[in-house]
Point group: D2
Chain length 456, copies 4
C-alpha cells in the first residue's frame, strides 16, 4: 500500500503509518470483524456452518471502495450499513441472512478501530524504542560534557548534556509507560449488539464475544463500551503525552540550534531544512514538525475526552466525532516518533560551544555556589544581597563575577584565593547529575525489556 | 472535480466544499499566486516582460501532483519549494530566474490559503442564507404555535415554536455577522519575502504587493502577517461560532425528536437515519453530524488561537500546525451548514404534540403566573411557598395544579373561578414573544440584504 | 478551616475539599517541605543540628498570610522567595543560612502541590467509593427492571435499568483505575535544586532526597521533574476522565428526568432545584453542576498537557500556568464526586414509567428481533426492507408494528400467532444483560478491595 | 476595595482589576439590576411607585456576603434566589412582592456579568492604549536600528527593531479592534423572564427592557440571549486574541533576552526577576507571566465556545460553566495587559548587540541578496545551488560567505569587487520596512483615536 496522499498529509503521516491508518486498512479490519464473527457463530452452531464458511472466505477476496462506504455513511452516520449490504451482495442467498448476525454498526467499526490502533501502537513502539536507544546513547556519551542549564530561558547553573538527554529519556520512558498500559489494558473488542445487550444472540452472546476476541487477538471486555468511551479517552491521553514528551525534546533542540547558541544541530541531507528564498538556511525541520504535531494534538485530546459523555446507549454525535480525531492522533504520534528518531540520530553536538556558552556569563552562572559558601559566614539573606549586588555590577560593567566579588570585603575575608577560584569551576559543581543519569538509564533498560517482551 | 475520498471524509466534507478545499485547488491557488506575481512584476518592469508573460501562461497549463509537493515538504516543512522547482522546470532558461521573485514560501501558501478561504466562505454564505431563510419561514409559520419552553431540561413556561425558531435565527444572524466581518476584513494577501521586509524588491515591494492584491481580488494588508496570525485565529473563531450556532439548533432538534417528546422529526428519504441492526430506527442523522462537527471544531479552534504566538519573524512549528486545522474547520463548517439546511428543509413539525406536551404538567407550567398574581395579595415569598407546596402535591398526587390550589384558602380568597381558570391559559401568557419574533426577523432581513450585496 | 469563599466558588468547591486546596494548606505544605528538608539535612550533618532543630520547629508555629506570598510572587513569578525570607525572619542568625539549603523554588512548591494532591485524591477516593457502592446497589436492585435502551436519542431495544447502572459503574471503575494508578505512581517529591542537579549538596543530594521523600510520605523519583511534567499531565488526564465518567451519568439522569420521560428524579429537600421565577421547578441540580464541571475540565486538561513542553531546565511560563489549573481540576473533581454521590443517593426510580416508555413505540422497539427471526426465512436485506416498511407504516398510522406486520404476507407465512406474539415480549429479549451486570459488579468489588487496601 | 487574595491569585489578578471582578462587585451589579428594574417598573406604573422607590433605595445600603449567596447556589445552581430573598428581607411587606418582578435568575446574573465586563474592558483598554503608545514609541525610535530577522529560530535576513515593534503594534491594533467590536456590539442586558418571553410582564416586557437597558447604560438586545450565548463566546474569543497578541510580544522578548542573544532586557527593580537559589538571575518575569496567562486562556476559550449549544430555553450545565471561566479570562487579560505595559515601559534595548548578532553568520544572512543578484546571470535553481554550497562551506569552515563565494568562478565573473561587497551591507537591504512601519503607526493612530472617542 502506498504512502499518504495530499498536499499537507505527507508531512503529518509517515510512510510506515499510512497503510495502517488508511481507509483501506480500516475497511479490511471491518471485514475481518464480520468474517471472524461468522466463523465463531458457525463453530458454535449459531448460524449454519456453510454460511459461516462462505462468509469467512470474504476476508480474502472482498474489495470495496472506502469512499463508497463513506458516502453511504452520510445518510446513516455510519459506514457499516453499506458495508454489510456490500458483503451481502457477494453471498449466496442462503448465506446472506447470517452476515453481521446479532451485531451493530458500532461493534464493527469500534472493533476495527481497535485493530487499527493495535497495529499503529506496535509501529509507534517500534520507533519509540529506537528513540529511547538514541537518547540513551546521547546520555552515556555526553554524561560528563558540561553545559549551562537554563531556567526561564536564562543561564542558571552548570549541568551536563548527558543529564539533559537523561531528562529527555526519562520523559520518554514515562510517556511510554502510559502508552504501554493503554496497549495492555484497553485493546478490547466492542460487541454489544444494537443496545449493548447482545439481545439477538439470546444467552450465547457473551460466549460468542469471548471466542471472537480470541480470534481477533483482542481482549473481551467486561461489558460493551458503546457509550462508555473511557478507553478512547485514555488512548488519546496516552498518545498526547507521548507526543508531548517528544515535543519537549524538539523545543529544546530548536532552541539549542539558534545561531547564537549553536550547541546542537540537526544534520540534514543536502536541501534539507532549506528555504525557498534563503539559501543559507538549515532549519530544524524535524523539531518544527514535531512541535506542529504537538500543537495539533493538544486540540484533539479534549475532543476525545469530551466524548465520554455519550448519552444513553449511544450518543447523538460523540461517536462520529471520534473517528477522524483518533486517526489524526495516531498519525501525528507516528510522525512525531519518526521525526524525533531522525533528528536524534542526526544530531551534531558541539561540545566546544557548550563550554563557551557556559562561560559567557563571566562566572555569574556559579553565583549560587558563591552564595551557598558565603552563607556559612553570614546570614543567607545578607549573602544573597551581597552576591546579587556583585552580579549586577558584573552585568553592568561586563566584568567577571569574581572581579566584582573582590571588591566585597566580606567575600575576601571569607575565602583564600584558591578557595575563591575553586568556587568558579563548573566541573566540581554538578551535584547528583551522575546519579540521575544512572537512574534514567536504569529505568529505560527496564522499560525496553518490558517492551521487547510485549512487542516481540 | 470529484467529491471527498475516504471512509470518514464524506461525512465531514460536502460534495460542494470538496473541490474548494481539495489539494488540487490549493495547488492551483499557489500557482495563481506565482503567475500573478510575475505578471505584476512584468508590468512594473521589475522582471523581463517576456519572462513574466511566459510565467503567467503556466496558470493555464501547469499540472502537478499535490502529493509530490507534500512529500517534498517533509524535508523543508513547506510544500512551496518543490512547487517553485516544478514550475521552473517548465520554463525556458531565460524565464526561470524570475519565477517566485522576491517571495517566500509563506507568501505563496498563505495567500493560496486565503484564496481557498474566500471560495469556502462564499459557499458557506450561499448555504447559510438558505438556512436563514428556512428559519425565517419556520419563525413566521409557527409564530403562534404554543409549546412548552424548557430550562435545565425541565418544563418552564409556555412559549411558541416560532419564538424558538426566532431564537435559532437570531443565533445564526449573530454568528453570520461575525463570519461576515472576517470575510470583509481579513482576506488579505501575505507578501513579505523571507523576513517580512520584501527586501529583494528594494523599494518596489509594497507597490508590487498593492497590484498583486488587486489582481488576486484580495486586500493588501498594512504589513505582512507571517508571524502575526490574528487573522487566522479570528477566522477560526468565526467558523467555530458559526458551527456552534448550528449545533445549538441540532441539539434542540435531536431532543425534540425523542420518542417521548416527538415535537419535530427530520423527514428522511427511505433508508435515511437507518441502523444496521434496527429497522424501525429513524435517527436524527443531520443533527448527529452537526453535533459531531461542533465537538471537533471546539478542539480545533484553540490550535489556531495558540498559533498567534509564532515567534520572531516566523514561528518554529505554528505555521504547519495551522494548515490542516484550518482546512478541517472549513470542511466542518461547510458540512454543518449543508446538513442544517437539509434538516430544516425537511423538518416535520407536530403542532398537536407540542400542545399535548404543554399540558402534561397538569397546569404546573403556569405556576409562575399563579405566583405573580398571588404575590399581589401577599408577600412574594409567602406566595412562592404556597405555590411550591401546591406544585409538590400536584406532582405527588398526579393531580392538576388547579385542583391543589383549590385546597389553599388564600388562593380561593384571592381569585374568582373565572380569574383562576384564566391563569391556566397558556395562550394569554406569552409576553413579548411576538416582539422578539419581529426583531429576529427584522435583523435577519437586514443581514440577508447585506449578504446579498457582499456575495452577489 | 472554613469552606470556600466567593460568589461562584461554593458551587465548584465542596466544603470537604476547600481546606485541602486552600491557600493556607498549600503554604503549610511548603513550610512542611522546608522543615522536613532541614530536619533531614540536620540528621545527615549537612547543616548544623541546632539549626535543623530550630527550623523544624517552625512547622508548628509559623503563620504567614498566603496573600503576602502571592503579591510577592508578582515580581519573581514564584511565591517561594518571600516564604523563605519570611521563615528566615523567624530564625536566629545562626540558623538562618540553613533554611532552604540547596533547594529551589520549584522544589518547594511542586512538592507542596503533590502533598495537596495526595490529600485531595484521598478525599476523592473516599467519596468515589461511596458513589461506586451506590451504583452497585442500583445495579443489583434494578437488574431485571425493563426499560428502553436509546441510541442517538431514539428508542433502540429493551434493556434493564440495572444494566444502565452497571454501565455507569463500569465507567467509574475504569476511571477510578486510571486515577488510582496516578496516585500510586506519580506522587513523588520534586527535589533538584536550581537546575536539577542538586549541585549545592555536592554528592549528598540524592541521599537527602531519599530521606526527604520518606519523611514526607512520598516517592523519590528517578530524577527531578522540574521540566519533565508528564506526571502533572497524567494527573490532569486522570482527573478529567474521572469527571467525564460522572458527567456521563449526570447527562443520562438529566435526560431521564425530562417531564416527558420521567424515569428518574433527583429527590431534593424543600427548595432544592428551585427557580427564582418558577415555583413548580425541580431542576436536576446535581447533574447540572456535574455537567458544568466537566465542561470546564475539558478546557483545563489541554493546558496541563501543553505544559509538558517546558523548555530546558525550567520553562518560561509553563510552570505558573499549572498552578491554578491543577487546583481548579482538583476542586472540580471533588465537587463532581460529591454531587454525584448526592444525586445517586437520592435517586427516585420510576419503574412503571420505564415500562410505559418501553411500550410507547407500539412494538417497534422489538423490530430487530422480528428482523432477525424473519431473516432466517428470506435474505436479511429483504427482511430489513419488509420490517422497515412496516415500521414506517406503523409510525404514520400510529398503529402497532404487529398490526402492520400482519399485512405482510411473508411475515404471516413465517410464524404462528404464538410465535409472532412472543417476538414482542421485551423480557425475553435481553441477551447477555445479566452477564454484563455480573461482570461490572465483579470488577467493582475488585476495585473496591484494592482501594480499601490503598486508602485504608 | 482591596487586591486579590490567595497564594496564586495575585500573580494573575492585578490590583486594578481585582475590585472589578470581585464577588462584591458582581453582587453589587446584581443589586443594581434589581433596583433599576423596580425603578423602571415604578415609572411605568407596573408596580406601585412606593414599592419601586423603596426597592431602589436598596442599591445604596444593601450589604450581603457573596459567600452566603454562593453557598445557597449549591442547591439551585444559581446565586440569585438567595439574593432576591435577602433583598426581600429588607423590604416592607408591601414592597416585597415587587422585587425581581417578572425577572429570572439569568436576567440578573447575566446582566450583572455584562456590567462587570464593561468595567473590565474599560480598564483593559485604558492599559491597552498605553501598551500601544509604548510600542509606537519603540517603533519610531528604533525604526532604523538593524537587527537580524529570525525564522524557524534561525537567522534569515536583516530587519530593523522598529519593524519588529511595528509588527507587535500591528498585532495589538488588530486584537484591539476585535475587542473593541465586542465592546460596541455585545454589551446588552439579558432580560427574558423565566423562559425568554417576559410573560409575567404581559405586553409591557420589551418596553421595560428598553428603559432598563438605558438606565444601566447597556444595549437592549433584539431578543433575550439566555440560550443564545454567542456574545459570550465572541467576548471570550476577543479576550483570547488580545492575550495572544501580547503573548507573541512576550515570547519574542523572552527569546531576545537569552544570555547568548541579549538584544533586549526587562529592567527590573532590585529583586525583580530573582530566584530563591540563584542570585545572578534576572528572569524575564513579565513575559513569563504573560506566557502563562496565554497558556491558560487557550484552554478557557473552548469552554465558552462550547456553551453555545445550551439546549432549549436554558441549558442544563452550560450557564454555570461560563461564570468562573469568563471571570478568569477577564483577570488573565487584565494581567497580560498590565504586565506587558510594565515590560515594554522598562525594556532596555541593546542596539550594539543587535548589530553584533546580525554579523555572527559571517555574511550568510545576506545570501538571499546574493542569490537574487546571481539569478540574473544564471538559472535561479543553479544560483540557489551555488549559494547553498558556499553557505555550507562557510558554516563548516567558519569562514565568511564572501570568502567562500570568491571560490566560485561564476560569482566572480558576475560582479565587480565593489558590487560584491555592496551585496553584504544589511542597511541597504531592508526593502519596504519603512513603509510597513508607517502603515503600522497610521493604523495605530486611527485605532487610538477611535478608542479615545469610545472610552473617553
Amino acid at each position: 500500500m502506498g504512502g499518504p496522499e495530499g498536499l499537507f498529509e505527507p508531512v503529518f503521516i509517515s510512510d510506515a503509518m499510512a497503510p495502517i491508518t488508511s481507509a483501506a486498512n480500516w475497511v479490511r479490519k471491518m471485514v475481518d470483524f464480520e468474517c471472524a464473527l461468522a466463523g465463531v457463530q458457525g463453530e458454535l452452531r449459531i448460524i449454519p456452518i456453510e454460511a459461516a464458511h462462505e462468509i469467512s472466505q470474504l476476508s480474502r477476496s472482498f474489495q470495496i471502495d472506502p469512499t463508497f462506504l463513506g458516502v453511504a455513511a452520510r445518510i446513516t452516520a455510519s459506514p457499516v450499513i453499506a458495508l454489510v449490504a456490500g458483503l451481502g451482495d457477494r453471498l449466496s442467498e442462503s448465506a446472506r441472512p447470517w452476515i453481521h448476525y446479532g451485531a451493530t454498526s458500532q461493534d464493527v467499526l469500534d472493533t476495527a478501530t481497535i485493530l487499527v490502533v493495535k497495529e499503529a501502537l506496535e509501529l509507534i513502539f517500534y520507533d519509540l524504542e529506537k528513540v529511547g536507544t538514541a537518547l540513551a546513547e546521547l546520555t552515556e556519551r555526553y554524561r560528563h560534557t558540561p553545559m549551562v542549564a537554563r531556567t526561564l530561558l536564562q543561564h542558571a547553573l552548570p549541568t551536563t548534556f548527558g543529564l539533559k538527554a537523561a531528562n529527555w529519556l526519562g520523559g520518554l520512558t514515562s510517556a511510554g509507560a502510559v502508552l504501554e498500559s493503554t496497549y495492555s489494558e484497553d485493546l478490547a473488542i466492542q460487541f454489544g449488539g444494537a443496545a449493548g445487550t447482545l439481545a439477538a444472540l439470546g444467552e450465547l452472546g457473551s460466549g460468542v464475544g469471548i471466542r471472537l476476541a480470541k480470534v481477533l487477538g483482542l481482549e473481551f471486555p467486561s461489558m460493551p463500551w458503546q457509550s462508555q468511551r473511557i478507553r478512547v479517552a485514555k488512548l488519546g491521553s496516552a498518545l498526547s503525552i507521548t507526543v508531548g514528551s517528544l515535543a519537549k525534546i524538539a523545543v529544546d533542540i530548536a532552541l539549542a540550534s539558534q545561531a547564537e547558541v549553536s550547541e546542537v544541530c540537526e544534520v540534514q541531507e543536502f536541501g534539507g531544512g532549506g528555504s525557498s528564498a534563503l539559501p543559507q538556511k538549515v532549519n530544524p525541520v524535524g523539531p518544527v514538525v514535531v512541535n506542529a504535531c504537538f500543537r495539533r494534538v493538544q486540540g484533539l485530546l479534549p475532543i476525545l475526552v469530551g466524548c465520554i459523555v455519550a448519552e444513553n446507549e449511544r450518543g447523538a454525535g460523540e461517536w462520529p466525532a471520534e473517528w477522524e480525531t483518533l486517526r489524526d492522533l495516531l498519525n501525528l504520534t507516528g510522525t512525531s516518533v519518526e521525526r524525533s528518531l531522525h533528528t536524534l540520530s542526526n544530531l551534531k553536538v558541539n561540545e566546544d560551544r557548550m563550554r563557551e556558552n557556559l562561560d559567557i556569563s563571566r562566572g555569574n552562572v556559579m553565583s549560587e555556589r558563591v552564595l551557598t559558601s558565603l552563607s556559612e559566614f553570614m546570614g543567607r539573606a545578607e549573602a544573597h544581597q551581597l552576591v546579587r549586588r556583585a552580579t549586577q555590577r558584573s552585568r553592568e560593567n561586563r566584568t567577571s563575577l569574581y572581579e566584582e566579588l573582590l571588591h566585597e570585603e566580606k567575600f575576601c575575608d571569607s575565602f583564600t584565593v584558591d578557595q575563591a577560584q575553586e568556587l568558579f569551576d563548573p566541573l566540581t559543581y554538578l551535584g547528583s547529575a551522575q546519579v540521575f543519569i544512572d537512574n534514567a538509564l536504569a529505568d529505560w533498560l527496564k522499560a525496553r525489556t518490558r517492551w521487547r517482551k510485549i512487542f516481540g
